[in-house]
Amino acid sequence: MGMQIAFWILSVLVVVAATGVIWQNNLFRAALCLILCFVAAAGVFVTLSADFLAVTQLIINVGAVAILLIMSIMLTRNITNGSPANNLGLPALAATGILAAAIIIASFATDWLISPSSPIEPTTSTLADLLFNSEGFVFLIQLAAILVLTTVIGAIVLLKGEE
């Protein structure tokens, strides 16, 4: 019962905050709505008993990505313009509405094989086993490290400026 209440509160919060991101004309407020959306999504992860992921989401998305976005909003801010919409509003809304409706109908029409076993708690040691065992995803985590290193070097090169 408590889980149900938490789920409904968090999901309403996620959807309202996400709507706020595209509704707000002020980019800074949109970024604050995005932070709220991320925090509520971390709460949704908790209701799915994904504790490690919730903390990862808080640290990376709320702590790093949102700060990065706010910094660049401040660096490129154009106060008079804000964040206007282009003239594709209605077609875009119709197309994405149809897409979302299709996903929802498909998810209700499919006969999912719900597993009866209860989830692992805490998930940290199982995730570590999967990530760093030689039969697991250790190659992918190495690739992710290379990707992040490339990203850092690329960002520095792009922003270095003239000598």
Binding site: F7, N81, S107, S115, L147
Partner: protein, 102 residues
Amino acid sequence: MPGLEHYLVLSALLFGIGLTGAIIKRNAIAVLMCIEIMLAGVNIAMVAFSRFITPVQLTGQLFTIFIIIVAAAEVAVGLSIILALYRHRQTVDTEKIDLLKW
């Protein structure tokens, strides 16, 4: 206990909202923020599948970790491209950045 369909509906709604924003926003940073919302929706669907269909294997959560890593990398590169553009053209309006438009 909310079921799998609840989470899938939530994820579809988030994906739709993010996609709408990514199409209609004219500020490039706002487009990036909307793409982040889409990724959050996908993450919720992934964790929900992991919780309800394979609750003892956690591969869905692992994929979500990789999605978060790639999303962070994407935001870093995207924002540096936007800042470089702003330095050269003094605008982040996607309708004025049309040098490659045919």
